[in-house]
Symmetry: C2
Subunit: 212 residues, 2 copies
């Protein structure tokens, strides 16, 4: 049983899950306030992180639990478009990435993998959601596959009915523009059970579990 899981997917009230105009200076575009409540120090657990354990932080820790591989869209890896320039780009994360597993970057421009000492290897693959999920499962050693975003990639997997668990965080903000999550997904909630809980921070956490 290897599931496909989405975690800490922050969505604005008007349905945007990232900003447009991604650039080197603005990795998530003009949507910084979407992640204002997200404390990335907690993705590997509450242990060893200074600061109170809150609901928002507790739920952030689901991110890495039992994950054997990640799939991401190209824009999550870098700001480049088209053919890869020979610029030595190795992702947004510097010498140490948070992933520590194989990561499959979906791109129409395949290239050789990039390996890190921390256990992360980025593979650059062209293919459908089904095909790329197949590749990720092969190396996930029976563990779950995390679908890391961005919104366009997640939407693609939702369309193909390949998402098993999705942890959404509805932020009480409006963006007015950005990358929409829900376009073309009318009624997608019918394929899931949805549990909602309001955090004292004002965010709403939702657990979407695919009906079996």
């Amino acid at each position: 049983m290897s599931r496909t899981r989405v975690h800490n997917l922050n969505v604005s009230l008007d349905g945007y899950a990232a900003g447009d105009h991604v650039s080197l200076d603005a990795p998530i575009g003009a949507a910084g306030k979407l992640f204002a409540g997200f404390d990335g120090r907690f993705i590997h657990g509450v242990g060893g992180v200074d600061g109170p354990v809150t609901l928002d932080r507790a739920l952030t820790t689901l991110w890495g639990q039992g994950i054997g591989a990640e799939i991401m869209g190209r824009r999550k890896f870098g700001p480049q478009t088209g053919s890869w320039p020979d610029d030595g780009w190795r992702g947004w994360w510097g010498d140490e990435t948070p992933f520590r597993t194989p990561v499959f970057v979906m791109t129409h421009h395949p290239r050789p993998p990039i390996e890190f000492a921390d256990g992360t290897t980025f593979h650059f693959v062209d293919g459908s959601a089904h095909e790329v999920l197949g590749l990720a499962r092969e190396v996930a050693r029976g563990q779950d596959v995390r679908l890391g975003g961005g919104p366009t990639t997640i939407r693609q997997f939702l369309e193909a009915d390949l998402v098993d668990v999705m942890h959404l965080v509805i932020a009480p903000i409006t963006l007015g523009r950005g990358v929409p999550l829900w376009t073309g997904l009318d009624g997608v909630e019918e394929r899931f059970t949805v549990e909602s809980v309001v955090s004292p921070s004002g965010r709403t956490h939702q657990f979407w579990n695919r009906r079996t």
Copy 2:
């Protein structure tokens, strides 16, 4: 920074956190319904466990995060009282325990440690909360120490102001009898910030973080 943490502490509306009359057949006494909503399969994370990811289950996974040792009361280890009988008792858990760390069992009757192949070693120690916490910290390798209960042990650590993080689950039930958690702790909440969130299951999760 090694903290002392309490997780998944289920408490009834009338303040009981375990039943009385613990016996071989009733490890938590007559308080089974206190744990009716607790799914122990999730203590090591949501990965690899069949079943929907819900809020209650998500929060259960904090249990093992960054924990280097556990402290428990004698009654959590077994039903015996007084001098230890020569009965081969190795705890409630069979050949494989959930702990996988050193565990300090507080008892007025010290005895040699009991070791398991899974990484768990039970140490039987006599001493104050301060003293036993010191022993646990020594072997926790800088990680946090989990205070595993029961209620009497947790109350003792709260009295000594040694609890840094406490995850309470208020179950919407009354027990009428059992082991009380709050006796002698009037106003203990003033030493903490307390965040509450209501689960769709009807339980209230609380995060107590000691004020610094």
